[in-house]
């Protein structure tokens, strides 16, 4: 009995050393050496060279000249990576149905010129609350608004969105999607909104 507790204690110490410290530190060193960009957090810079976020982390968008992401339940204002999660509302939840209703209404108000039907992902919250992507349909849905706000043609913008669509990996893994941050940064490069950026950044 005591013998086994003794072994348990000693093995605990030994295994913490191996699996609790040696392993993560060694892996960190190795990862930093082989994939420094990814291991560090996939940070992306804007045209001015300042870090504006992580490519894999979604962020809040409100301006009409940017493509918007999905509703988020992460943190008080959404898209808070330190408070990730979904709404956890049931499909029969009155709150969910009401929230979806107002999301539809808000979306329609923002996009008076939208011709496509309302895409599901733009009116439902993601699981992480920091979903960096929207569906291609959701991007196309916003094209008339963004084009109008930026004063570029719908056709040009549609082509840009088309280029931003990431297809399924190997044609069947996951879903086609558009990374909102990447699309918006590309948009800023192709059709900058003069003055506004500078104003926003100060």
């Amino acid at each position: 009995m005591l013998k086994h507790f003794g072994i348990a204690l000693r093995l605990t110490v030994v295994s913490i050393a191996i699996f609790g410290f040696v392993y993560p530190f060694a892996m960190t060193g190795l990862s930093q050496a082989v994939f420094p960009y990814q291991a560090g957090g996939v940070f992306v810079k804007d045209a001015h060279g300042s870090i504006v976020g992580s490519e894999i982390i979604g962020q809040s968008w409100h301006e009409p000249y940017y493509f918007h992401g999905r509703p988020s339940a992460a943190g008080k204002n959404g898209y808070d990576p330190t408070s990730t999660g979904g709404t956890n509302l049931a499909p029969t939840s009155k709150k969910l149905i009401d929230a979806t209703k107002s999301a539809i209404a808000a979306l329609k108000k923002e996009n008076p010129d939208a011709t496509l039907s309302v895409p599901m992902d733009l009116v439902t919250s993601s699981a992480s609350g920091i979903d960096p992507d929207i569906s291609p349909a959701a991007a196309y849905y916003q094209v008339p608004r963004v084009a109008k706000a930026r004063g570029i043609s719908v056709r040009k913008l549609t082509t840009l969105v088309q280029g931003a669509v990431r297809e399924r990996t190997w044609r069947f893994l996951g879903e086609p999607r558009v990374n909102v941050l990447a699309l918006n940064l590309a948009l800023d490069r192709v059709a900058p909104v003069s003055g506004v950026r500078a104003h926003l950044r100060r």
Binding site: H4, A8, V14, I56, Q59, S60, W61, T124, F172, E175
Partner: protein, 566 residues
């Protein structure tokens, strides 16, 4: 539902089938103490560990000594993790200066990780220091998985051996498992995940100014190394609250596939190892087949309902699958698959919000856990749970061939039935009784995230998950003192009240002599046996939980069809 969704499912399952045999053979060598191609590296380390810990590697243990060693180790590791969580603010690697955890939450979390459950009543990204994540949680992901696998190896030995008292050495099984099996896969897995974009650093959280000028704090940490053992060891405790839904933990559809493969990998390979160790690989494949049937059925149901979407939202003029609580890069196919995979096993990692699944889509993970998580199952716990079901099936069906039931030539008699029934009883006792109490208890109901039948589903899900040591949740449920204590107790008994009867069963079987098989004997590698095994698992599960589930997800579905909301 899309062709791509089905292809993704098929690809996943083909990979699992393809890996089962090679890894299973390797595991059989590891646990039978043979040399492997990794021995040149690990054999000296292994000997060193034994020397430091005082383990005598050649000592064989009877079942009760094995159980005792297992309990001693679990007790020590439980104490360690509690200690770390209660003192983390004074410990190193805490760049965010997170405070110590409250006693009830620390207790809940300590049991949660000791029992391989990884039920999380906290958000990792705002609660746990890097020290706690590594030295308490990630370390525990290794050893609690190792404990589960060790028990299953011991149980297999009990089935395979004849007229002996001993079923192996716990310390050796645990050490070899962590060293030869978990560690090498984790090293490769970490690199794969980092390549996909999972962070692996010790940086403090990074606050950036977003494109629109808002401040956003981006989390970091040694995530990839923890992520891989979280899946491989079917632990499931996420580095961050959103778990594998978070693009940090699971950035791409490929990382998603990789993580799912990690979850099933050992559970599936254990079936082949079992076949190897009982000297008839068809026995292993029969169990694999039974598991596969329930797995495929579960996925089809979940995918069908998630793919069809929410009619209450369709009524608002928005069509499409149920995207509430799902990620765009993954979609319903990968989410339904992940949810099925994570609850077939005792993993509990989640890449979507199970609480927001359609009623019958969410019923799949719920039922998976209520069946005792034997569909590939928790690493180790799935197989020994399955062997309990095999014994039960053999006993009922074996009678119908007109002989005293035999399992691999060993007569199933009073003692075996007793231990099997004890193990089977754990699930109804630990799921239904606390759920019943919670369903009429004020402080329990206070933290429900949803009303109506779905509230009952949240209660059932919590106790089904903690009992089965799964750890996934209907996340709407909040924590308070009641839930911390109740789920803590539940996880504790859910682990040990099954493991100990399973070891006792192994001890009883090991002592038996095996009767030679003939055409008159009941075989456990035939198609009809697979059908019966599946039937037994489903019938036992369904009969136990049908009333409760009928008042939860099932009636919620029927009411939803009538347009009711709560």
């Amino acid at each position: 539902m899309t062709t791509a969704g089905w292809l993704q499912f098929a690809a996943f399952f083909i990979i699992i089938i393809a890996l089962t045999k090679p890894l299973g053979s390797y595991m059989a060598r590891v646990f039978e103490g043979e040399r492997t191609w990794l021995s040149p590296v690990f054999a000296p380390v292994e000997r060193f560990i034994y020397r430091l810990s005082g383990v005598r590697a050649d000592e064989e243990m009877p079942w009760h000594v094995y159980a005792l060693a297992m309990l001693a180790f679990s007790a020590v590791s439980l104490a360690w993790i509690y200690l770390v969580l209660r003192t983390q603010q004074w410990l190193p690697f805490n760049p965010q200066h997170f405070p110590n955890l409250a006693p009830d939450l620390a207790w809940n979390t300590a049991i949660s990780f000791t029992t391989n459950t990884n039920w999380q009543f906290y958000s990792g990204e705002s609660t746990m220091s890097y020290f706690s994540q590594m030295a308490a949680l990630a370390w525990h992901n290794f050893v609690s998985a190792g404990v589960g696998i060790a028990i299953s190896v011991a149980v297999i030995r009990g089935v395979a051996r004849t007229t002996t008292k001993t079923i192996g050495n716990f310390w050796v099984d645990l050490t070899r498992c962590c060293l030869y099996l978990l560690l090498p896969i984790c090293v490769i897995g970490t690199l794969v995940l980092v390549m996909q974009g999972v962070p692996q650093n010790f940086n403090a959280y990074h606050t950036v100014k977003t494109v629109e000028g808002a401040a956003q704090t981006i989390t970091g940490g040694p995530m990839a190394s923890q992520e891989v053992i979280k899946e491989l060891g079917t632990n499931g405790g996420g580095f961050v609250n959103a778990n594998s839904a978070s693009p940090n933990e699971n950035p791409t559809p490929f990382s998603n596939l990789f993580e799912m493969v990690m979850i099933f990998l050992i559970g599936a390979s254990l079936t082949y190892m079992y076949g190897k160790m009982v000297k008839d690989t068809r026995q292993g494949w029969a169990i694999f087949a039974a598991m596969a049937i329930v797995f495929v059925a579960g996925f089809c149901i979940a995918y069908a309902f998630e793919g069809a979407g929410n009619p209450l939202i369709h009524q608002l003029g928005v069509n499409g699958p149920n995207m509430e609580g799902k990620e765009c890069r993954l979609g319903v196919g990968a989410s339904a698959l992940f949810a099925t995979v994570t609850t077939d096993t005792s993993c509990g990692a989640a890449n979507s919000s199970h609480d927001s699944f359609m009623p019958l889509g969410g019923l799949v993970p719920l039922v998976n856990m209520q069946l005792g998580e034997v569909i590939f199952g928790g690493v180790g716990s799935g197989l020994y749970g399955m062997i309990v079901f095999v014994v039960l099936t053999v006993f009922i069906a074996g009678l119908m061939v007109g002989r005293t039931p035999e399992f691999l030539g060993k007569k199933i008699e009073k003692r075996e039935v007793q231990f099997a029934i004890l193990a089977i009883l754990v699930t109804p006792v630990l799921v239904l009784i606390p759920s019943a109490i919670a369903s009429v208890k004020h402080d329990a109901l206070a933290t429900l995230g949803n009303a109506g039948p779905h509230g009952l589903s949240e209660i059932l899900y919590a106790f089904s998950s903690t009992n089965a040591n799964n750890g996934s949740a209907f996340g709407g449920l909040g924590s308070n003192f009641f839930w911390n204590i109740a789920t803590g107790v539940n996880m504790f008994f859910g682990r040990f009240a099954v493991a100990i009867p399973a070891l006792a069963l192994a001890g009883a079987l090991a002592g038996k002599k095996a009767v030679a098989p003939g055409i008159g004997t009941f075989t456990t590698n035939s198609t009809i046996f697979v059908v019966l095994l599946v039937g037994t698992i489903l019938i036992v599960g369904a009969l136990t939980f049908f009333p409760a589930d009928a008042l939860g997800p099932i009636v919620e579905h029927l009411l939803m069809l009538q347009g009711k909301t709560f």
